[in-house]
Amino acid sequence: MMHSIRAVAVNTIRQAVRMKIVAVFVLLLLVLLPVMGSAMGGDGTLKGRLQTFVSYGLSLTGFLLCLLTIAVSIYSLTSDLGDRQIYMVLTKPVKRYQLMIGKLAGVIILDAILLFFFSAFIYSITLAIPKFTKTSPEQIDRVNDEFFTARASLRPAEVDVSAEVQQQFQKGLKDGSIPQRAKTDRDLYGRVIATLTKEAKKDSRSVIPARELLWEFNNVKPANPGDDLYLRFQYDVSKSPHDLKVTGKWIAGDVRKFGDKIDVPIFTYESRDLIRTYQEIKIPSDVIADDGYLGVVFYNDPQLNDTVVMFTEEEGLEILYKADSFSWNFARAALLIFCRLIFLAALGVFSATFLSFPVAILLCIVVFFTGVISGFIFDSFDSLSENMGTLYFYTVRPLIKLLPQLDKANPTGYLVEARLLSWAALGRIAFFMVALKSMILFLVSIIIFSYKEIAKVII
């Protein structure tokens, strides 16, 4: 069994290489990646340059490999069918599913080789950029802390605003701002409560001048106890300052023990930073309490700011700490791209079993780009189909869920923000994208192909 699968797989790779399909992509990347490495400056800082190169380099590689995978997986089978080489293969002791597995394996092996090669290429250029860039030691330290690392994230627990929301609801009913029928109309009640909850949450994350806001984190336990922490946040304001900056006064430590006499390490920080831009503050690890507690306080100084400072729900505020190395994170990011490629290879083989080359290419590219904006697609369908209820839930929704959610598993996002892509997260994505979706597609394609009349003629 294995010999025929192996023979077909090797032949598929030969086909892709010798028909110069691979050569076009390889040449493109070999030219573009070094150019990008030397030309892209980002925001002018070393970190910005590295972020830009990794982001564009890995995205471009991933994108081109996705297109290559679609083209090769479809062409391999449709050309065999169209040019009839399959007559001379399927009349040998080769089962049809073996041919399919061989084709898929060939594309996946080719992907693995190319991805390994280009990932190593990008990785090498990334490591080389700081060595060939004139920069300050501070910049080097900064990229080591904020780029060449893999940081886990802790977010504060959601504030429970339900009691406040109910209070506001009752108050609204009394003063007439909320109609009385909201008490009986479930739909209206739901919408009013949702609006009030949103407002309350926004208020809970807003700091008026001369007030402070506290976030509490538990189980803050860096992999290496001596490693620094990073507070990552983004300011938003009710009224934009003239220089678009806000001065933040930050305190971090075991704020539970604050009293007249503070006897625990406290970290304080003050800086004026741009609004609506991510900022990071390095916090020493010794401010973490023994039980893993860490309190972070923001004070809105009325002498320095004359606006309400808000921390939105989406961008929020989080504590980052080193959990793994950049190298391993990069390897996992490459594996994440590999999961995409496996899915697209299965999709390509699937579509080639019943569609001609141009139609199959069109289908796969549509699915691919839909996957890239899957969040928008899902939200759109969910909102448009609100009134369709059960019918939508059991018919269209499962089909839509079969689409890959490529935007939710963006490998460059992890590397650019030096955010940990854990093995568990990778495994979860691999399970859904490869073990579940790809396998379903491939099994269906085997069933279709097993019953396909290879030499069928339509009169």
Binding site: H3, S4, R6, A7, V8, V10, N11, R14, Q15, R18, M19, D83, R84, Q85, I86, Y87, M88, V89, L90, T91, K92, P93, V94, K95, E453, I454, A455, K456, V457, I458, I459
Partner: protein, 405 residues
């Protein structure tokens, strides 16, 4: 299992996009091909020959009826491991070279590496493509593609060989070589289903023929029985004097009134082969293929090519999946190194072939003998040494006797 190929009311209807039956490509076909037979499927274009083959091999689903190959379904891998198939065109991977092409098909059969290599080289030699073995087959002429197609059909030493229009695109010499090869393979116990609309090809090599038209068998039977004009007699002699002719005429007129004296015509195929061979001997310049007699020389040269053919037919590759690969490789190595072992296997094969050979001779049409004579001449001219006495086969000796007569 009495039949190597058997179809039972086999029917194939091609339909349109709406599923409406449009064309009856094959209708109620009952075909029976016995083992060790060369069976010719004749018919004009669109008569259902290729459709029948495709159903036998599982490339098409029968609309009705059954198609049995070697007692089972053509899609069964245990069955297809024993089949060699050459489609109506050599559908080859253009980017593979000739050697890689054979190696690829050898891998599909699960042949061990050493067996693959041995058979690949032997087949390349046999079809005369050793010199271009590293050239992509996409650059091959139609004739060369046909040769490599034939080679791939033999890579597994098949029990059953299905050849669809095997001589299409070949020049007369190539055509002749393929026909000679078919005869030789048949003598070695292979069953061959030959599908063609070239009547001369079928007439020259087949034991049995069926003529298809409109998807139905119109006539079938042994070639000699179908073609023999039993009410007429033909005597071929050397030059006769007018007196002798007069005497013979008197005798014949006494028996019946029909009498015709004429010099027999040589077949154009033979004439062509002789002319080209002469030109090659004179080293005339040509931009076309030059070395196109490999199969003939392969078949004629018993000391070398018989050994080669032995290698090709004696390797037990059909059960290679079940066998220990290491043992298989060792066995093949022994075969390569010790031709004596091959000879003993060949003896076994030929001892059972004898009856078959005799039977074949009964229906073997005359032109084959005549063409073989031409081949000997060509070989003598091309190889520069006519001394093949040491390796002369019994058939050749018979032919010699025939020529002398």
């Amino acid at each position: 299992m009495k039949y190597a190929i058997e179809t039972l009311s086999l029917t194939k209807v091609f339909s349109d996009w709406w599923g409406r039956n449009k064309v009856y490509a094959v209708e109620e076909l009952d075909l029976k091909v016995e083992y060790n037979q060369v069976y010719g499927l004749l018919g004009p274009n669109g008569s259902g020959k290729t459709t029948t083959i495709k159903m036998l091999l599982g490339l098409l689903h029968p609309t009705n009826g059954r198609a049995l190959v070697l007692g089972g379904d053509g899609r069964d891998t245990n069955i297809s491991a024993k089949i060699g198939f050459l489609p109506e065109e050599s559908y080859l991977y253009k980017y593979l070279n000739a050697r890689e092409t054979l190696d690829f098909y050898g891998r599909l059969f699960g042949l061990p590496a050493k067996v693959r290599k041995t058979r690949t080289e032997a087949l390349l030699d046999m079809v005369g493509l050793t010199a271009v073995a590293n050239r992509p087959v996409g650059t091959f002429s139609k004739g060369m593609a046909r040769r490599i197609g034939l080679a791939q059909a033999l890579i597994n030493d098949p029990e059953l060989l299905i050849l669809d229009e095997p001589t299409t695109g070949l020049d007369p010499i190539g055509t002749r070589q393929i026909k000679d090869l078919i005869v030789q393979l048949a003598k070695r116990g292979k069953t061959i289903l030959l599908c063609s609309h070239l009547l001369a090809d079928v007439e020259d090599v087949c034991d049995m023929i069926a003529i298809l038209y409109g998807g139905k068998i119109q006539e079938q039977g042994k070639v000699r029985q179908l073609l023999e004009l039993s009410e007429k007699r033909q005597i071929t002699t050397g030059h006769l004097s007018d007196k002798a002719l007069g005497d013979i005429e008197q005798i014949i007129r006494h028996e019946c009134s029909e009498f015709e004296v004429d010099s027999p015509m040589e077949k154009l195929e033979n004439y062509f082969i002789k002319t080209v061979a002469r030109a090659q001997q004179e080293k005339a310049k040509t931009s076309g293929a030059v070395s196109t007699t490999q199969i003939s020389s392969f078949l004629k040269n018993r000391s070398g090519s018989e050994e080669l053919l032995d290698k090709l037919v004696s390797a037990d590759v059909s059960v290679s999946e079940k066998q220990d690969i290491g043992a298989n490789e060792q066995a093949e190595e022994e075969k390569t190194q010790q031709p004596q072992t091959d000879e003993s296997m060949l003896d076994k094969l030929t001892s059972s072939d004898q009856e078959f050979t005799v039977e074949t001779k009964q229906v073997e049409p005359e032109p084959i003998r005549q063409i073989d004579e031409v081949n000997e001449d060509i070989l003598d001219q091309l190889m520069g040494s006519g001394d093949t006495s040491e390796i002369e086969t019994e058939d050749e000796r018979n032919r010699g006797d025939f020529n002398d007569a």
